[in-house]
């Protein structure tokens, strides 16, 4: 079976779509996907690090990743909300409508929906 490429190859292995603002000093690893729906936006502040394969999908408002925040590999952030400055989100964590405080540490592999953290 012939495999059809779904997208044209691009120099960067990260992809973004919609209203996405990335500070020049923020870094995004390979395979990340940052998508803002028509009525929504994503803003990534200075010095933020977005790990390999992370997915940020803004729906119904804005996702803000504040200055110096760190998202590990495979993190999935959906909805609308804020990741506080210098916060650390461990790898493979899933967060719906984030409300992560400044400097807060979220363990890897967490599932956070609403404000109730649950360990997988």
């Amino acid at each position: 079976m012939h495999l059809i490429p779904l997208q044209p190859p691009s120099e960067s292995q990260a992809r973004s779509g919609g209203d996405v603002t990335l500070h020049p000093s923020a870094v995004v690893a390979a395979g990340a996907l940052i998508l803002a729906e028509a009525d929504s936006r994503v803003a990534i502040a200075a010095g933020a690090c977005i790990g390999m394969g992370a997915v940020l999908h803004a729906v119904g408002g804005e996702i803000v990743v504040a200055a110096g925040a760190n998202l590990g590999a495979g993190v999935l952030i959906v909805g609308t909300g804020r990741i506080g400055s210098n916060a650390c989100i461990g790898a493979a964590t899933t967060i719906l409508n984030p409300a992560v405080g400044d400097g807060e540490m979220v363990p890897p592999g967490s599932l956070i929906t609403g404000s109730t953290p649950a360990r997988a």
Binding site: M1, L3, Q13, V20, L22, P24, V28, A30, G31
Partner: protein
């Protein structure tokens, strides 16, 4: 968008690697990546997105009628070898009639005996898996030798020999489940 650095830099020594030896009866999908001294037997199926890289540890052996499903990774540490059934040393030995299912990772030094089934996303690293074992999904097998015909339940983490010695035997119901999953990929073979 600022993207800095590559996740996987190209290996500078790739050009000096041996060429894989693949039997003409074996099917290798065009999107799969097989490099280095990899010896693949008859009627093997290598599905899309598979990565078999004998660029550090080598050689690798994959026996007749084995099945390597989508997005499997086979790689080896530079050091550490296992004895294959031919008594030679290999980084990775995979016997005959073995099924390595979607997203599994076989990382040498590793020996996987004939007729084994490795479930979705399971990892075998620095380990010896006897013949006819059924490894279910999301399993980690590391630093152990598992006797023939054992069953390793989904989600197990088997990293001590004491655990390995206490595993239950595989039952016919486990083998039926394994063949059901294998059947899922057989259509691609045609």
């Amino acid at each position: 968008m600022a993207v800095r650095g590559l996740a996987a830099p190209p290996t500078p020594w790739s050009k000096e690697l041996a060429t894989p030896q693949i039997d003409p009866s074996t099917y290798v999908h065009a999107s799969s990546d097989i490099i280095g001294d990899v010896r693949i037997g008859k009627n093997v199926h290598i599905a899309p997105g598979v990565s078999i890289r004998a660029d550090e540890g080598s050689p690798f052996f994959i026996g007749d009628n084995s099945n390597v499903q989508d997005a499997v990774v086979i790689h080896g540490l530079e050091k550490g070898r296992v004895a294959g059934d031919d008594k030679s040393l290999y980084s990775v030995w995979i016997g005959n009639n073995v099924s390595i299912t979607h997203m599994a990772l076989i990382h040498g030094p590793a020996y996987v005996g004939d007729d084994c089934f490795i479930g979705f996303r399971s990892t075998v690293f620095n380990a010896r898996l006897g013949k006819g074992c059924v490894v279910m999904m999301h399993v980690l097998i590391q630093d152990v030798e598992i006797p023939d015909g054992k069953y390793i339940a989904a989600g197990s983490i088997i990293t001590t020999q004491q655990q390995a010695d206490r595993l239950p035997d595989a039952l016919s119901i486990d083998l039926q489940f394994a063949s059901h999953i294998i059947g899922i990929n057989d259509a691609l073979r045609a």
